[in-house]
């Protein structure tokens, strides 16, 4: 039997598929998180420079990775929706945005919790912090534009254009902020840790990254199902299945 992936481009067929996938990714997220946190808190050694404070990287680093990666995935689906006029792609882009914004916020929050004991300040205008903050603004702008337009199809397309403009701009913003920072202040703060990281630290971090990944998928699928329910509420198939 040939697998026809295009079949699932329709909300009607994707809706039950997403419903079956959500428990799988939820369980995977919990398993990875439990193992990852166990390794992070009990197996990984105390850092000889930073002490116990460093353990926040098990949350911070995966969140920061996801915040950037989700923006790319969101822009990808937005672009697909704009090009091929597929409704589900635009719904997927909308479903990803709040999770991406949440990850950006967690990355900023945990970063500042880590910064206070380590650097002695909640916030520095470091290049990475600044570009992460601007990324949060881009997410918020995307969601605000999508929410402000009542016509669903126009909201899809307008926010897709914005997401694509954002993708072109993110590297420009990143490099300009980096240059700005090096011009203004010396290397007062260096984010790069010692290159040799204990294997258990790395394992814990990668497991947590997988946990965040699975969580993002599960939550986005849940949200895309909610969006489908909302938009297709008058469709006969949804009334039958509900």
């Amino acid at each position: 039997m040939a697998l026809n992936i295009w079949k699932y481009a329709s909300p009607q067929t994707f809706f039950p598929l997403a419903g079956r996938m959500i428990p799988v990714f939820t369980v995977l997220a919990i398993v990875f998180a439990v193992v990852g946190l166990y390794i992070g808190f009990f197996v990984a050694p105390t850092d000889f420079q930073q002490g116990e404070v460093y353990r926040i990287i098990f949350i911070h680093v995966p969140a920061a990775w996801m915040s950037m990666f989700i923006y790319l995935v969101m822009a990808f689906w937005a672009g697909v929706g704009l090009t091929f006029n597929t409704r589900l792609s635009s719904m997927m882009a909308h479903a990803l945005a709040p999770t991406g914004a949440l990850m950006t916020f967690i990355a900023l929050w945990t970063g500042s919790l880590w910064g206070k004991p380590t650097w002695g300040t909640w916030w520095v205008w470091d290049a990475r912090l600044t570009s992460e903050l601007i990324l949060l603004f881009l997410y918020v702008g995307y969601m605000a534009l999508a929410a402000a337009i009542d016509d669903v199809r126009r909201a899809d397309k307008a926010s897709a254009v914005l997401a694509l403009v954002g993708v072109v701009n993110v590297p420009i913003i990143y490099f300009s902020v980096q240059w700005w920072n090096t011009l203004h202040q010396g290397a007062s703060v260096n984010l790069t840790r010692a290159p040799s990281m204990a294997a258990s630290m790395l394992t814990g971090m990668l497991l947590m990254a997988l946990a965040f990944w699975m969580y993002s998928i599960a939550v986005s699928l849940l949200r895309v199902r909610a969006i489908i329910r909302e938009r297709e509420r008058d469709a006969a198939w949804l009334q039958d299945s509900a």
Binding site: G141, L162, L164, V165
Partner: protein, 226 residues
């Protein structure tokens, strides 16, 4: 470029400039907004000349950002309301080029006055002659970038609830690179450092924006008019 296209571009530019001259209070409001915002800062932070000289480049640039963002309201909204925009889309000439002509006229009306006024405002902050010159040059290269990027936001928010504040939310994060290199050039000039690199990067942004922004603007306009 055919004669018809040339004619269309000239007509669009001329019409918008004529409108700007006839509705000159619109333009003057933005120019005075720029002047007032800049003049408020010494009142807020104190009149210490050393502090003012350090703050000057950033303050003038941020005020220019805000002024050029406020000006976006008059770029497409009136034409959208009275149907002119629809005629432009139906005109049969390439919409990205027509949009570029509109942005160009918009910049001549609202961006150029900011550039010309900036040396005067730089004096309030005690910038020296070289600093004033670099400030005006950086704004001359930078404000067209702001107009081009802003036009995308203006087109996306046409006829949308909460247009003004929403445009700010969409556009201001995208203004960051222009701000960094524009204000950075003036700061570098103030410290007797090389500022050519900053202006070159700003120029690169201008050319990239001229090449890419019109496509996004025309896509956004078509979506708004669907």
């Amino acid at each position: 470029m055919t004669a018809g296209l040339r004619q269309a571009l000239a007509a669009v530019t001329w019409r918008d400039l004529l409108l700007a001259v006839r509705l000159r209070t619109d333009v003057l409001t933005i120019v005075f907004f720029f002047a007032i915002v800049v003049s408020l800062f010494p009142l807020g932070v104190g009149a210490d000349p050393v502090l003012l000289r350090a703050l000057g480049p950033g303050v003038v640039w941020v005020a220019a950002l805000l002024a050029s963002m406020l000006a976006l309201g008059r770029l497409f909204a009136d034409d959208f309301a009275d149907g002119t925009l629809e005629q432009l889309v139906l005109a049969g000439e390439p919409l990205p080029l027509l949009a570029l002509a509109k942005v160009f006229a918009h910049w001549l009306a609202t961006g150029l006055p900011l550039v010309l006024l900036s040396p005067l405002l730089g004096l309030e902050f005690g910038l020296d002659a070289a600093g004033l010159w670099v400030l005006a040059t950086s704004l001359a290269i930078g404000t067209p970038v702001l107009s081009l990027i802003g036009a995308i936001g203006a087109a996306l928010t046409l006829g949308v609830r909460g247009g003004g504040a929403l445009t700010a939310l969409l556009v201001l994060p995208l203004y960051v690179p222009a701000l960094i290199f524009g204000a950075g050039a003036v700061v570098a000039a103030g410290q007797n450092m090389q500022f050519g690199g900053h202006l070159s990067v700003l120029g690169a942004m201008l050319f990239a924006a001229i090449a890419l922004a019109p496509w996004a603007i025309s896509a956004a306009l078509r979506i708004a008019l669907e």
